[in-house]
């Protein structure tokens, strides 16, 4: 019974916790600019994510090591520092984008500018992490995040053409704006394969004391949770493809994305969009901040744990406070939250090989996972996807910036 509950909670976490500012922005841009043509990138990213999340849980359950911890131990501190520094830089941008997402949701409801909301939202996120436990953060994020099912309802109500959707699952060359197409594709991959999820999931597994008997539940949670979660991203893309693309609307501001639920849900459309954006970004901001604290503490060999009182883990707690402050400060500079989100997601794709390749080495090392090493399919899918995503991101980011983003 306990295992069933664990799996059920994992699936709810997958559904409720999957959407965040990056997946909403990239999926909406993809649907508005290229209709269903980029559905394949959500599918590819999700398959890769399922493998990686499963590997993270397996590493934690068998070796009792989280990713950052094991990379430092196996490959040495000087090597471990490089990917972690890259992750910290990207995570500051991602936290800024998530705080921006919550602030935008509040702006849609109140009309008060994003910059005004940045500080109160940052403080509220800090308070939730400071006072809450890991279970509270996971459960609240997942259950409130179920509001995102509204996107699926809207997509179904608008009767999308299933044949066109299925065609979109096959990668194809774009008919126009090739640089923008590939830029959004890598953005989707960056938003889907978020490295913070590995630190959060793996460290959570250790805090929850997973053992070898958790491997089955881990597999089911990774596969079903992430697949159901991906349905939410697909729904955002479909809504944008049906509402924005036929009218020639390309998303330059979040206000345009916020219109995608109105034709299907009427006066509920905007509050539901704002609610989903706010709740999902709030949860993601907590998770990215905590994940960074886990990662830094594990790399530097500090004590860590969200279930302990903050004063018992002062350096761990201080790390997420600093991350939140840095992320929140980005918004005070007046940066466009949509551009910040898109750059953060594309940069995530650039750094993926730095983070994932060392981690895949561990999953093929019997010292850590005994007889539970990776199979050839998992290794191939993960390595090919992240290396390709990184190369395409390195090529398209300068093109996108030169083109004015």
């Amino acid at each position: 019974m306990k295992k069933v509950l664990q799996v059920a909670l994992g699936i709810v976490t997958g559904i409720g916790g999957f959407l965040e500012v990056g997946s909403i922005a990239t999926a909406a841009e993809a649907g508005a600019s290229f209709k269903y043509a980029l559905l394949w990138s959500i599918a590819l990213g999700t398959i890769c994510l399922i493998f990686l999340v499963e590997m993270t849980g397996r590493l934690a359950a068998i070796s009792k090591h989280a990713v950052a911890d094991a990379v430092r131990e196996r490959l040495g501190f000087p090597f471990a520092v490089i990917p972690r520094v890259a992750e910290i830089i990207v995570n500051v941008m991602v936290i800024g984008a998530e705080i921006g997402g919550v602030s935008l949701a509040l702006k849609f409801v109140t009309g008060i500018e994003v910059r005004v909301w940045a500080i109160p939202v940052t403080l509220l996120i800090w308070l939730a992490i400071w006072a809450g436990t890991l279970d509270f953060i996971e459960d609240a994020t997942s259950i409130l995040g179920l509001v995102s099912i509204g996107f699926v309802v809207a997509a179904v109500k608008m009767h999308p053409d299933t044949h066109s959707m299925l065609r979109g699952l096959i990668p194809s060359a774009p008919r126009h704006d090739a640089a923008h197409y590939w830029y959004i594709a890598v953005g989707i991959l960056g938003a889907t394969i978020s490295p913070y999820m590995f630190h959060f999931y793996g460290s959570g597994a250790i805090e929850d004391k997973w053992g070898e008997d958790s491997l089955g539940a881990n597999k089911v949670t990774a596969a079903l949770g992430m697949s159901f979660g991906a349905v939410m991203s697909v729904a955002v893309l479909v809504c944008a493809a049906l509402v924005l693309a036929p009218r020639g609307i390309e998303i330059a501001r979040y206000e345009q994305a916020a219109l995608i639920l109105i034709p299907a849900l009427g006066r509920w459309g905007l509050p539901l969009f704002a609610g989903t954006l706010g709740v999902c970004c709030f949860g993601a901001a907590m998770e990215v901040s905590l994940a960074t604290a886990y990662m830094v503490a594990q790399t530097l060999g500090w004590n860590w744990g969200e279930n302990k009182k903050p004063d018992k883990e002062a350096r761990f707690s201080m790390t997420y406070v600093i991350m939140l402050l840095l992320g929140g400060s980005l918004l005070l500079t007046g940066i466009d939250p949509l551009k910040l989100t898109m750059y953060a997601m594309a940069l995530t794709a650039v750094i993926l090989p730095l983070i994932v390749l060392p981690f895949v080495v561990l999953l093929n090392d019997q010292t850590y996972v005994h007889e539970h090493t990776n199979g050839p399919i998992g290794n191939t899918v993960v390595i090919v996807t992240i290396v390709l995503a990184s190369i395409v991101a390195i090529v398209t980011i300068p093109l996108e910036i030169m083109g004015g983003g």
């Binding site: 702006k107 849609f108 109140t110 009309g111 509402v243 009218r247 020639g248 609307i249 390309e250 330059a252 501001r253 206000e255 345009q256 916020a258 219109l259 109105i262 009427g266 006066r267 459309g269 905007l270 083109g403 004015g404």
Partner: protein, 106 residues
């Protein structure tokens, strides 16, 4: 060699100019359609005044930013219509909103 560099720079500038004009054209179409949805939604009370006004402001800001690089009559026209829509929404005047909606469709 110098002339080759000069020609290259001129060509690059020309391409960039064309890109800006093309981008602005797309933006005009995109914001026009956005304002149509906003006007429709306001007529049906599907969005609040505040959200509609903010969206209009974003449209004007974006179009003005892009028009500063390259002049365009259509952009100026749309900015004018956006101003009318803004006033109609501020007054909560449904018939005026409907009139501006008609103007947008033309």
């Amino acid at each position: 060699m110098r002339s080759l560099v000069a020609v290259t720079i001129l060509l690059a500038l020309a391409c960039n100019k064309q890109d800006d004009a093309e981008k602005l054209q797309k933006s005009i179409a995109s914001w026009k359609a956005t304002l149509e949805i906003v006007a429709d939604a306001r007529l049906k009370n599907e969005v609040r005044n505040g959200f509609a006004l903010k969206t209009i402001d974003e449209a004007v800001e974006d179009l003005e930013g892009q028009s500063s690089k390259t002049t365009n009559r259509h952009a100026e026209e749309l900015i004018g219509i956006a101003a009318k829509l803004r006033q109609a929404i501020e007054r909560d005047d449904k018939s005026a909103i409907a009139n501006v909606r008609g103007e947008l469709a033309r």
